[in-house]
């Protein structure tokens, strides 16, 4: 199970990576493996304001429908439009081409409250 150490993780299995003042958000390798084949991603609207832990979107797999929670509070400034036609990117490249949205965080420091790679690895090994 991959857990790259260039980003932070929520206990709900989202990842968050800060670059140029924006936080890119996606779901972890562990999450995509647990969900199984993703068939549809319901993306947030650009411009939407999200609370920490608020619902950012939904991922539908052949097994279930699960909500994606915002790992930081802020404003959604971009979404990954490629997921509309190729939801399988969440399975094949969850940390890269399968990113979900970009958020300008209300507080950049909020990322520090998330888990680092070592702690997230410990969480999913329980």
């Amino acid at each position: 199970m991959q857990v790259p150490d260039d980003r932070r993780y929520s206990t709900d299995h989202e990842w968050a990576r800060l670059a140029d003042g924006k936080v890119q958000v996606g779901i972890t390798d562990y999450a995509q493996d647990a969900l199984g084949d993703v068939v549809y991603v319901d993306l947030p609207a650009v411009g939407a304001r999200v609370e920490l832990g608020g619902v950012l979107g939904e991922v539908e797999s052949t097994k279930s429908v699960s909500e994606i929670y915002a790992p930081v509070a802020g404003e959604v400034v971009a979404v990954n439009a490629a997921l509309a036609d190729s939801p399988e990117l969440l399975n094949t490249d969850p940390y890269g081409a399968g990113w979900i949205s970009e958020i300008v965080p209300t507080d950049v420091g909020a990322l520090d409250a998330l888990l680092d790679a070592a702690h997230y690895t410990a969480l999913i090994s329980e």
Binding site: A34, G36, D37, V39, Y40, S61, T62
Partner: protein, 513 residues
């Protein structure tokens, strides 16, 4: 000496002996079509042929004929018979699809449902012409109320989800009548997916409560979300883990204390039939899945029926018109009445009436003792399987279950790469229907097995043996590969569910060639 001549009972319930042919894809009717061929014969009627132009004014005629399949009766019957031979059905073998209660449907119920006096009646026939039908419906309502511990019922809802919506509309009407606006309905995280959907459709907001370590509602978490904005709670008892909610009385008291109502999702009623009643547990509204518990046709073989029974205080809100006993002295004795504050109709005419006739037959054939035996044997069968299979799979909640057991293929997946889905697919070619997989959502790699009361010990042995064989084979690379590529022997092999969902092609002529 005689004993030596009697063979041991053969493993029952396996459909592996059925001639499930199917090397080739069955063509669609359109592919079988040949211009000018037809399946009707009207040669000696003496009725003159009339041109279409003489019969239908031009404004109502199509520009070109609709493209219908043209096949002979022989080809038509062959097509559907071949398709029917490719089906797995309850009549063919064991069908341990958890949460669905795919029990065998006794044939006597079908025999009653085709009686001309029941089947050949128009639903618009006046009450004085259908006294027998009305008595049947009233009797069924009385029986369902006795079984659930409720005061009155509606037989209209078409199935479980329609029953849920009915229940939520009853909740709405109840609070509206009191001028009490409430927005929230509580649902445990182990609930059937229909529960939150029905809550939303009924105009309420879903509040989810987690399960505790024993697989039951986390009572402290429940107490923390209870307030006067809570219209009610929807519970399945036993829950979807097959576990009885032992705290049900204190849950009921707490919900009633804030003025809320308790809704009983009857999906798992099979487990408690004749043993304990939702009404005695404190529930106010109950739906029953007649197609599960009362052995009427199910799924694609429906239609179903999802009657809703309620406590006395909710009876004035029930859908109408209701079949009613007007009194033995009156003439006619039975008629239709609409409750004074009725939420209206939930179904055209009188619900799926012939399903209701089957259900009453099932109740009468079993009687009180027989219904209690249904529940006891369903629970016994599920526990026998749970115990036997807990050495092959993980048992996330290792305590006595009710009518179904939830196991996990989590360790199997870690050790061999064989997932719950692969086990389910491999089981198909062992001659059994698959159990439910990946539900409840709170169990990783869930396998939800519900044998029902109708399967014999021999069938349970054969089913357990097949599952154990699949697990044992997965230990070798060849065996694991065979499982992940299964099924190999069925007419349709592993389908690509993800691709089908991502690129939906609903018509045959748009199929990729």
């Amino acid at each position: 000496m005689v004993d030596d001549l009697v063979p041991a009972a053969a493993a029952g319930g396996r459909a592996a002996s059925a001639p499930l042919l199917g090397r080739d894809t069955e063509p669609t009717l359109f592919e079988l079509s040949e211009p000018g061929r037809s399946a009707w014969q009207l040669r000696t009627t003496g009725v003159p042929d009339l041109a279409l132009e003489e019969l239908v004014p031009e404004a109502h005629r199509r520009d070109s004929p609709v493209a219908l399949a043209e096949v002979s009766e022989r080809d038509l019957v062959g097509h559907f018979t071949r398709l029917s031979h490719r089906q797995f059905s309850v009549d063919l073998g064991a069908y341990p699809l958890g949460s669905c209660t795919m029990k065998y449907n006794p044939k006597i119920c079908d025999a009653v449902a085709v009686l001309p006096g029941l089947a050949d009646v128009h639903p618009a026939a006046p009450a004085n012409c259908i006294q027998g039908w009305l008595e049947l419906l009233v009797e069924l309502e009385v029986a369902l109320c006795e079984i659930t511990g409720m005061a009155a019922a509606t037989l209209q809802p078409a199935a479980g989800a329609a029953g849920e919506l009915t229940g939520l509309l009853l909740m709405r009407a109840w609070f509206a009548a009191k001028g009490d606006v409430r927005r929230k309905v509580i649902i445990p995280d182990s609930a059937h997916g229909t529960n939150p959907a029905s809550v939303t459709l009924g105009g309420f907001e879903v509040v989810t409560v987690p399960s505790d370590g024993r697989g039951c509602v986390d009572v402290e978490a429940l107490y923390s979300v209870l307030d006067e904005d809570v219209a009610g709670i929807m519970l399945t008892n036993p829950n979807t883990l097959g576990l009885f909610e032992e705290d049900i009385r204190s849950i009921a008291d707490a919900v009633h204390e804030v003025g809320g109502l308790l809704y009983y999702d009857g999906a798992n009623l099979n487990a408690i039939l004749g043993v304990v009643r939702p009404g005695d547990m404190g529930f106010d509204i109950v739906h029953l899945n007649l197609h599960k518990t009362f052995a009427t046709p199910h799924g694609g073989g429906g239609p179903g029926a999802g009657p809703v029974a309620v406590s006395d205080r909710l009876a004035p809100f029930l859908p109408g018109p209701r079949p009613t006993r007007l009194g033995d002295a009156s003439s006619p004795r039975f008629g239709w009445t609409t409750p004074e504050r009725s939420i209206g109709r939930l179904h055209s005419w009188h619900g799926n009436a012939l399903v209701l006739a089957r259900a009453l037959t099932y109740v009468l054939v079993h009687g009180n003792d027989g219904l209690r035996d249904v529940a006891r044997l369903a629970v016994l069968n599920a526990n026998w399987l749970r115990k036997r299979l807990s050495s092959s799979f993980d048992a996330p909640y290792d305590r006595p279950c009710m009518h179904e057991c939830v196991l996990s293929a989590s360790s199997l997946k870690r050790a061999t790469g064989v997932k719950a889905l692969d086990v389910a697919k491999r089981l198909l070619e062992e001659g059994f229907h698959s159990p439910t997989v990946y539900f409840p959502l709170i169990v990783d790699e869930a396998l939800m097995i519900e044998p029902t009361e109708t399967e014999s010990l021999q069938t349970l042995e054969a089913l357990a043996g097949a599952l154990e064989r699949i697990v044992a084979e997965a230990a070798t690379p060849e065996g694991a590969l065979a499982a992940t590529e299964a099924p190999h022997l069925t007419p349709v092999r592993r389908v690509d569910e993800a691709r089908a969902a991502r690129h939906l092609v609903p018509t045959f002529d748009a199929r990729p060639s």
